[in-house]
Amino acid sequence: MASPMRIRAASKDGVTEVRVLMSHPMETGQRKDSSGNPIPAHHITELSAKHNDKVVLSAQFGPSVSTNPYLAFKFKGGASGDKLVVSWVDNKGESRTDEVQVS
């Protein structure tokens, strides 16, 4: 099981800014290990963010996204105490969901 995401969601002047730091190797499939065997690709493929059960962002990631992916975005609305849920799925079928309260 992957480590928890670090999520910050801050509401200011009617706009909520969300920042997410995921913990994931994001292996491209291009690299080789010390004995020359290719390291299989292992990366997040899909991500979605929901604010009170309404999807505010959905994303697809390829192997070009950096290790431990960072994502920031903004949406209108959102008040202090609202629930924000972020989940991802990777190409091996692993997944992770974390939630925070908007501050």
């Binding site: 706009v15 994001m26 491209t28 291009q30 493929t45 899909e46 309404k54 999807v55 505010v56 962002l57 959905s58 994303a59 697809q60 990631f61 390829g62 192997p63 070009s64 996204v65 950096s66 290790t67 992916p69 960072y70 994502l71 920031a72 975005f73 903004k74 949406f75 209108k76 609305g77 799925v89 190409n91 091996k92 079928g93």
Partner: protein, 155 residues
């Protein structure tokens, strides 16, 4: 003894079949994720990647801003942000022309979410970074060159 050996063979055989199927592409974890646009992420040229996301030949737009460093010292972590000032922006994709997989990430922007996303990407070498935006049903593109100095010696 013989029975145990037979069981072991069966188990091994079963795994072998699964491995073969997986190798042949018949069983893939991605199958569960039908939404992931595999052909776009596997595309080997900009044209193919653009075609796979349905963009065709997008028009240049000055209303898309790409925030990325002019020179990235560490190609493993290059911050890239895209802001689209086009009305009704519904989709943003970030592509790196000279990466083995050009399409780095794509975002669907529902109504109420601002066309303002930031992430970090890997870059193997100096390349143009493209932001492809779909707004009001049409595709637009902007680009910015990012120089990568992996050795930190300039260049």
């Amino acid at each position: 003894m013989n029975n145990q050996r037979r069981d072991a063979l069966k188990a091994g055989g079963g795994l072998g079949v699964f491995g073969l199927l997986a190798a042949a592409g018949l069983i893939k974890p991605e199958m569960a994720l039908a939404a992931w646009n595999k052909s776009a992420f596997d595309a080997k040229s900009m044209d193919a990647a653009l075609a796979a996301i349905g963009a065709g030949k997008p028009a240049d737009s000055a209303d898309i801003q790409i925030t990325a460093p002019d020179i990235a010292e560490n190609g493993a972590v290059v911050p890239v942000g895209v802001v689209s000032n086009l009305p009704k922006t519904e989709y943003v994709a970030i592509m790196i022309e000279k990466n083995p997989s050009m399409l780095a990430a794509s975002f669907e922007i529902p109504e109420g979410t601002m066309a303002d996303v930031q992430t970090r990407v890997k870059m193997g070498q100096t390349s143009d970074v493209f932001a492809v935006v779909k707004a009001d049903g049409k595709f637009y593109v902007a680009k910015k060159e990012v120089k990568v100095t992996l050795g930190g010696c300039g260049g």
